[in-house]
Symmetry: C2
Subunit: 369 residues, 2 copies
């Protein structure tokens, strides 16, 4: 199997496995227990939050651990509706379903305005500024890296605009955490989010970063864990796992970036040179190197391409795994590439030159047959 669907999920790093097993075997106390063994588990959570805070340039008490990105986003929108009581929401039609469905779930649909997109699958900055100008104090939700195209938002610029118009700024950083640096304070972020399984951490854990100046209340209630922000016995092994995964991602970020940039350029060049009817989605210069999405013209060969690649044990996707279950309009429709089939190739630090060559050979073979 050649795994090129790392934007959907990633293999857990061996070091992360080890940390989790150590916690499950030796630090398994309940972090809410007042005895020493419980305090040890609680300390482990606090140390994980402290490490993550340093990596994301936020405060330790701004980290709320959750069961993943989706729960974190639900917690956020629950608060947008019930605590922030934002008058306006500004977002894009291509956000993750966790954002778009939360807008409906928490009664925000009527307050929501969609920013126009450029052909590079990015928000139109002029339109965003117009909206911000018309809607002071809006809650803005724009993803950092688009999960289907890899397009990279100029988060610094959006952060500055939000500051200027006194908007509250959330960026869905699920696809960028550990791949592109996040500076929570310098980027003027009020909220950011992490899902461990996107960066070689375990499934079932993640966190929300919340500006500590903003009031919040828990969505899931019970024992008052996580400083009252999220009830339920903390997933200590998962928390230690996401912390370790993020640490490793930061250590390897620049090397991985360079390697995958070359793979992406090479793939894009070879494919479009050999089959000129294939387009690359987005601007390759304004996207993360991990993701390359192709738009294949619809025809007899391309319509079965996903099945054929699957049979050859190349694991790629047509887009977001989460989108696969929803009936939202597709990304290609949104950026006016109609009658095309998307093919998303998403790489990780474990992707090798050999795998890229094998994939390229197979893809060209299938399309040229």
């Amino acid at each position: 199997m050649i795994y090129l669907d790392n934007a959907a999920t990633t293999i857990v790093d061996a070091e992360v496995n080890d940390v989790m097993i150590t916690v499950m075997q030796h630090f398994y106390g309940n972090p809410s227990s007042s005895h020493s063994f419980g305090v040890e588990a609680k300390t482990l959570i606090e140390e994980s939050a402290s490490t993550i805070a340093k990596l994301c340039k936020c405060h330790q008490n701004e980290i709320i651990f959750t069961s993943g990105g989706t729960e974190a986003i639900n917690l956020l929108f629950y608060n947008v509706a019930h605590v922030l009581k934002s008058k306006y929401v500004i977002t894009s039609p291509l956000e993750h379903p966790a954002v778009l469905e939360s807008i409906k779930q928490y009664g925000l649909a009527e307050k929501t305005h969609f920013v126009k997109l450029t052909k590079d699958v990015l928000p139109d900055m002029n339109h965003l500024e117009e909206l911000l100008h018309e809607m002071p104090g809006a809650f803005v939700s724009l993803m950092h890296v688009h999960n289907e195209s890899g397009s990279l938002l100029d988060i610094q610029m959006v952060g500055e605009l939000c500051k200027q118009y006194e908007a509250v700024f959330f960026s869905d950083t699920v696809q960028s955490m550990g791949k592109s640096p996040i500076d929570f304070q310098a980027m003027n972020l009020d909220f950011a989010v992490c899902s461990a399984h996107k960066l070689h951490g375990p499934k079932g854990v993640g966190f929300l970063i919340k500006n500590r100046a903003i009031d919040f209340k828990p969505q899931l209630v019970g024992g008052g864990q996580s400083s009252g922000m999220r009830a339920g016995t903390e997933n200590t092994a998962g928390i230690a796992g996401v912390c370790k995964a993020l640490e490793i991602a930061h250590q390897t970020m620049s090397n991985t970036h360079e390697k995958l940039k070359q793979f992406k350029q090479y793939l894009a060049h070879e494919i479009t040179t050999n089959i000129p009817t294939v387009q690359c989605v987005g601007d390759l210069q304004i996207s993360i190197p991990q993701i390359l999405t192709l738009a294949l013209p619809f025809n007899d060969k391309t319509q079965s391409i996903h099945r054929e690649l699957d049979a050859l044990e190349f694991v790629v996707s047509a887009g977001s795994a989460c989108h696969s279950l929803s009936d939202e309009k597709s990304m290609l429709n949104h950026v006016c590439i109609d009658n095309h089939i998307p093919l998303r190739i998403s790489m990780s630090k474990f992707t090798t030159q050999k795998e890229i060559e094998l994939f390229l050979g197979a893809l060209l073979g299938l399309l040229k047959e």
Copy 2:
């Protein structure tokens, strides 16, 4: 360290660790992906649900995996408020904070009626029947095994009463799953719940069992995972882990029951014989053998007993870890054992005779000094 706080949380079984590592390394695909590698992960979830369904005597599609017991209980009460729209809620004042706080969170406080308790920390069945009679179609929430005393509800009898009065019946089975058999159908249960970390599974995963005849909607929204009942990429390793933990618990249930019954009787007898002012909480015959809770008369020696035992590396607790963060009235107050300090000793299949002897020696030493 001698660990006797298994009602708070348990060590993860080595076999469960192994299953989780295998999933994280070899079945890490996103269960929502349509390629074979994703389908494999989805199949693994379905097989886990099927195995659990056989053990709990329910249908496979009645299992909703969550991040643990607290999320499952929140999902349930969210639906009690928004979908079932129950006119009355009947519960006990000694339910877990996840239940008591959910009642407030989802606007059910005014509809809620509390059943009286017996001195054995169990609902008064006559009062329960009176309430059911007055409140047809009520939603009933009564825990199977009380987390602080170990008292065991006659769930079969409550199920029959609920059927007779057309009530919807939820039993918080977090403390009983894997310790006392659950027959979802025969017990007339509509909802039950599991938290993996209470039965040598990982923290951060659990499930709700929901009667399939009852309509439900998701609380956490997004990608439509878990048949639309719970958004968020499934924690496949955790799901395989809770399944394995429950399987092992069922295989070892009767041996563990016999062993711990003897330990409990021995401890209770030795302690109350040596220090007659100590009381056992609840009726030892109507409780699970895993939990023995003592009420120690308040005095100079007992007021520091938890600290002293902790210093000697005996891990026991004063009660529920979750309750430790809330300001609810204590269990001992509720069952009219005032001016006493609770000491909960909670054992597991890993508890040995040697550990019991050492603990007994230390406790008697401290109390008699």
